[in-house]
């Protein structure tokens, strides 16, 4: 995707520059990518935060486990110290110690050392201060051990003092334990309950040991108690029983502590220990304590000790188990959260990739296609790889637009080709017409002298080809023949008809016998004229150069004009039906005479029909006037004058009709 984008980034930008407005650098692609990036970063942040949260919980429990080890060690040293104190007190009383107190002290010292070790690993807040305190207690314990080693075994007072020292040390250790507990706190309610049990057990243990120390010192006879002190002692003993029912309920309810021996301890205190201690108290008050009573009480104390230790061991086990379970659970949660985060991120990246590939990419491609089309590049529109219906519809529309553009281009091309072909055809046709016009013109005789007459001519076709034609030539009998033809209409068709008429008339005139006049020739032409050909008007004349006599026939053609010397122009003829209209036109020869210098004007009606810009025609009357005014001029000038007058009259330079004029002068 990125490679593709990079490769195409250059050309579209150059194109964009032309098509975008003054603003608008922001593209849909950039916006989408920005949104995707922002969202992705947010998601990643959230995942990291959740992971860190899990991690810190995991750290908390693993820390708790290490702190717990410190506590165990510290408590072990405490218990060992108290154990030793009790044994020393029993020894002072003269009883049998359960163990060698020196062993207990060694155990206490080892535990303290272990405390120091685990303290370093536990990383407690204020751990350094606690370590200093522990080291100090170790020193004190060392001192007590040295003193004890040098104490005589039978010196009761010395032994009792060592026991008291140990008890004081145990008390210090207890407060140290509380410091650790306060410094770290409990991670959850379950551990809070565990601590509650522990504290209860330690409290019971402590109380019983304190009472034992007090009673033993009295029994040993080291001091005599006051009545108040005895009451206080008895109250201490009974205090532990008040809390007992609550703890039993708790033990039964708490899932962690269930199955421990807490209830055994409570039951024992209630049923065995307290009566034993009360018996001692009564004995003291009575002033006589039997050794059996003392022995039973000491056994009860030892039993409480034992039960306390068991309970603590159970508590520890529960705590370890609970913390271990929680640690495992936190670990699982951490792993799960990492897996979920990873999954979510992978899913997100897949989605983003999908959007980029299937939306952003196709959009860019469509933009390129649009710009391409706009620039007139009509290569096929590619197929978009996107599931989006609207993009597909747009792309489809682009295909339609492209086809429209292709068709438009082809139509344009075809139109240009058609124009070229029309132009070529027109050129060809014009060339044909020009060739035909040349042929038509070549039929017209040049001006000149013929058989005693001078011929001057004027011919002008309204188009390239005209329907007018004329000819003059010498007949075999020496006479001169003249004709003029005007086929209705103009252009190629009329010109072809005029050629046919020309040939027919010339042939008919050539075929005239010496006594025959032009009407005979006209009749011949009319007879042979095909019904389906257009009619035409014509005038034919035959003149004798020797006498100046002639005759003419008028077939729908304008009246010819005779220009006599010194006389006004005169119309000749009597009208007549055009050729090709009726089978029996009834033409007849009209005789006339041209004296030397006299002229005959023969012309087609195109002269009359020239129109000015109001649409009125030049007309016969105006023409007769014109000819009258110009009658003194030689023929060439006369023709030039007529042409100039017609040109003046004409609205445009272009004459409406074909015009032809032949002037015959007798010389």
């Amino acid at each position: 995707m990125s490679g593709d984008a990079a490769a195409s980034a250059v050309a579209p930008n150059a194109r964009d520059a032309r098509f975008r407005g003054a603003r608008g650098r922001l593209t849909l692609r950039i916006v989408l990518l920005a949104i995707l990036s922002a969202f992705g970063l947010g998601l990643a942040g959230l995942m990291v935060w959740l992971g860190l949260d899990r991690w810190s919980d995991y750290r908390l429990y693993s820390h708790q486990l290490r702190v717990e080890e410190t506590r165990f060690a510290l408590r072990d040293s405490l218990l060992a110290a108290e154990q030793a104190a009790l044994d020393l007190a029993v020894l002072a009383y003269g009883g049998e110690p359960e163990r060698d107190p020196a062993d207990d002290l060694a155990r206490a010292a080892a535990s303290l050392e272990a405390t120091l070790g685990s303290l370093a690993a536990a990383d407690l807040p204020g751990g350094a201060d606690i370590a200093v305190a522990v080291a100090e207690k170790m020193a004190r314990l060392g001192t007590i051990r040295v003193e004890l080693a040098s104490t005589p075994a039978r010196d009761d007072r010395e032994l009792a003092e060592r026991a008291a020292d140990l008890r004081a040390l145990a008390l210090d250790l207890r407060s140290l334990r509380m410091r650790i507990l306060r410094a770290v706190g409990v991670p959850d309610v379950a551990m809070g309950v565990v601590h509650l049990f522990r504290n209860y057990a330690l409290q019971v243990h402590d109380t019983i040991h304190a009472n034992a120390a007090a009673y033993l010192s009295i029994l040993t006879g080291l001091r005599t108690p006051s009545a108040a002190e005895l009451t206080l002692l008895s109250r201490e003993t009974t205090r532990s029983r008040f809390a007992a029912p609550t703890f039993i309920d708790l033990v039964d309810a708490d899932p962690i502590m269930a199955g421990t021996t807490a209830s055994d301890l409570v039951d024992f205190i209630e049923s065995e220990y307290i009566p034993a201690e009360e018996a001692i108290l009564q004995g003291i008050r009575a002033g006589a304590v039997s050794p059996d009573t003392v022995a039973g009480w000491i056994a009860a104390v030892r039993q409480v000790d034992e039960l306390t230790r068991r309970m603590l061991a159970a508590t520890d086990e529960a705590a370890r188990r609970h913390l271990g379970e929680r640690l495992a659970a936190e670990w699982r949660a951490l792993v799960a959260s990492l897996l979920v985060s990873g999954g979510v991120l992978v899913a997100y990246l897949l989605c983003a990739a999908l959007i980029v590939r299937r939306v952003v990419g196709p959009l860019g491609e469509m933009r390129r296609t649009m710009l391409r089309l706009a620039e007139g590049d009509l290569r096929p529109v590619g197929v978009l790889r996107t599931p989006l219906a609207d993009l597909l519809a747009m792309n489809d529309a682009l295909r339609v637009f492209r086809i429209n553009a292709v068709r438009r281009e082809r139509l344009q091309q075809e139109r240009l080709e058609l124009h070229a072909r029309i132009a070529a055809a027109a050129r060809e046709m014009r060339a044909d017409l020009e060739a035909a016009a040349l042929v038509q013109l070549s039929q017209l005789p040049p001006p000149g002298h013929l058989g005693g007459f001078r011929f001057d001519t004027y011919f002008r076709a309204s188009r390239l080809l005209g329907g007018d034609t004329f000819d003059f030539f010498r007949l075999s009998d020496g006479r001169v023949a003249l004709f003029q033809v005007d086929v209705a209409g103009h252009g190629a068709a009329a010109s072809l008809v005029s050629v046919a008429a020309h040939i027919a008339l010339r042939r008919a005139l050539d075929a005239l016998g010496p006594e025959e006049g032009p009407a005979q020739a006209m009749e011949d032409v009319n007879r042979g004229w095909r019904e389906d050909l257009p009619y035409f008007t014509a005038l034919a004349a035959v003149l004798d150069g020797r006498t100046g006599e002639g005759s003419l026939v008028q077939a729908g053609h304008p009246y010819p004009v005779l220009l006599g010397s010194g006389a006004p122009p005169a119309r000749l003829g009597e009208g007549g039906v055009p050729v090709g209209v009726v089978p029996e036109p009834g033409w007849r020869d009209i005789p006339f005479t041209l004296r030397a210098g006299e002229r005959l004007l023969v012309f087609s009606d195109g002269i009359y029909d020239v129109q000015d810009d109001t649409g009125s025609i030049f007309g016969e009357d105006r023409f007769m006037d014109l000819v009258g005014r110009l009658s003194a001029l030689p023929s060439e000038d006369l023709i030039a004058g007529i042409e100039a007058a017609l040109r003046n009259w004409s609205a445009a330079d272009e004459m409406f009709d074909d015009i032809s004029l032949v002037v015959v002068e007798r010389v």
Binding site: D486, A488, G489, E531, Y535, T537, Q554, H557, G619
Partner: protein, 112 residues
């Protein structure tokens, strides 16, 4: 091209209502006349009163109509003005059409 057609005494009177009959409208004029002939009109009067000018193409149209009519019927020209009259005289169209001064004369002539 504007024409006005009425039937009087069984005679179709075609009034030409344009001032000029020339190459530009002659073919249409010719078609109109031939349609009437083919529709069965055998007596047709062409009222030329309003026509100022007629050229050879228009004359051709009239001649064509007459040829089409042949011996079946008659086409008459009525009320040609001066210029037309002169042209009709020049070309001796009286040999081809009955030509009358007024439409009524023509109708009377054809109806009889």
């Amino acid at each position: 091209m504007q024409t006005e057609e009425t039937v009087q005494d069984g005679v179709l009177v075609v009034g030409v209502r344009v001032p000029r009959l020339e190459a530009s409208n002659a073919p249409e004029f010719r078609r109109t006349l031939i349609e009437r002939i083919e529709a069965g009109h055998q007596q047709i009067v062409i009222d030329l009163a309003q026509v100022q000018f007629i050229d050879s193409s228009a004359l051709g149209a009239l001649i064509g109509a007459v040829k089409r009519m042949g011996a079946l019927g008659t086409i008459a020209l009525a009320a040609p003005n001066g210029t037309l009259s002169r042209l009709l005289t020049l070309t001796r169209m009286d040999k081809v059409f009955p030509i009358t001064e007024t439409v009524e004369d023509a109708v009377a002539k054809l109806a009889s």
